[in-house]
Symmetry: C2
Subunit: 252 residues, 2 copies
DNA sequence: AATGGGTGTTGCAGTAAGTGCAACACCGCT
DNA sequence: AGCGGTGTTGCACTTACTGCAACACCCATT
């Protein structure tokens, strides 16, 4: 592992917290100012870091463009998108698509609810991993030991009284989800919001992504939302079929 | 400037084009495989690069999270958001917020149209700089020499017959925009889509961001869209006032 | 089963490249 | 003018990065 690169990259999360000047960066890296300067300069040339008018550094525009391109290249996302839109047209609620990667679950696509009440989420944002329905599906499919190790390592914040409280409960929930092939989050993240989710599988049967429909209590009750489960599962299966090459992409 | 970091960062845009294996990365960097391996490993440890199941490398999840955090820290964005939503409620069309940074203009917020026909754009995506109404406003405010230098350097793709054809025309358009204090894009990017835009200014009068309303011909004609100009300008001015600290943030 | 090409990985010696220092330059402030 | 604070540069030192070559591994192929 390269020390120089390691230091340079450590600057990024540091700047993500907010703008900082040269001295602050050098201190927090534990290096001399001149060293920090050179690292920042290199980051700057690549557009990852931007120097604002007060001379302080912030994260730069290229970062957005990179994240953007990376996202567009995800093939699940590309295949799924049309299906998500169609599902949204049918039920009107917010639809999410998420993947698991290196101990994180993140949204990679979203179709907004037609109703005025919208939930807060954003593409690229890491998901509340211990409670989100999509996260349960993705983690439930990990190999036994990996799943267990991850569950032990996680924090279990009590967003609401219904949040998953600890690793044991989480593992039990994952077992159930794995068994039944779908998942819910009933007010575990935000008191009034419920979700139902279904897995998207590759040709080998492994779960490659998960999708969910979310709606606040004020629009539909949890029971009503559950009646959408068959529709959600059908959509997920359609995406699975297309992704794994079984179903040819439908003619547009 | 640091060679090692420079090489490591050069890997990112390379991977943005699509997944690549070790050999390909080493070749395109012009370094030995073992060197490329170490760089990739370092990037991997920071989560910027992900190793997918077929061993090839792709951009990683941390990149999304970083871009995400960077975005949330933009204070213009935070202040503007509520105003954009309100404007969207009033007119129903797609509303964009954009900033200029290092020769690029990019969207940093967006509120979707209520109408079924939506235009394609995405937060973080670089804007078609030679034609977009928001780009004109942002560039029109650059210092003379910088504006001229940039205009000469740009490409002028003819998206439609109405696209800005060359630097001279662009500079002339910028002068006009600077003069009148607002801008339009009438079918310069996509044949059937029109936009009106207004600038958001900081306390010193410099343009810090620009916002626009966009709608396709099939929903409203260009003339009808122009009748929204006063509303757009009022919204932009309200944001300017709040951003520069003149108007206190309204009570929520 | 054995062979062979392709790819990823490791240990090592040489030296290029990054580091910290100290001096300097450049503000804005009193 | 003088002074703290911050960013920048040139330089000698030596750390830490590089490329090499050998190795390990996987999978086709025969």
């Amino acid at each position: 592992m390269s020390q120089t690169v390691d230091r340079a990259l450590s600057i990024l999360p540091l700047l993500a917290e907010g703008p900082a000047d040269l001295g602050q960066v050098a201190d927090r890296l534990g290096v001399h100012k001149s060293t920090a300067l050179r690292l920042l300069r290199t980051l700057h040339e690549h557009g990852l870091v931007y120097r604002q008018s007060d001379q302080r550094y912030r994260l730069g525009a290229r970062l957005f463009a990179l994240a953007q391109e990376a996202m567009e290249n995800l093939d699940v996302r590309e295949i799924a998108h049309a299906h998500l839109v169609r599902l949204n047209e049918q039920c009107g609620h917010t639809v999410h698509l998420a993947v698991y990667e290196e101990n994180e679950v993140l949204y990679i696509d979203k179709v907004e609810s037609r109703y005025p009440v919208r939930m807060y989420s954003r593409i690229g944002k890491p998901v509340a991993i211990t409670v989100a329905a999509v996260a349960k599906l993705l983690l439930a499919d990990l190999p036994e030991h990996e799943r267990r190790a991850l569950a032990e390592k996680l924090d279990y914040p009590m967003y609401t009284p219904r949040s998953t409280p600890h690793a044991a409960a989480f593992l039990q929930e994952l077992a159930k989800v794995r068994e039944q092939g779908w998942a819910t989050d009933l007010g575990g993240h935000e008191e009034s919001i419920n979700c139902v989710a279904a897995p998207i599988r590759g040709a080998d049967g492994r779960v490659v992504a998960a999708m969910s429909v979310s709606a606040p209590n004020v629009v539909v009750t949890a029971d009503e939302l559950l009646t959408l489960l068959p529709l959600v599962r059908r959509t997920a299966d359609a995406i699975s079929g297309e992704y794994s090459g079984r179903t040819p992409a439908e003619p547009k």
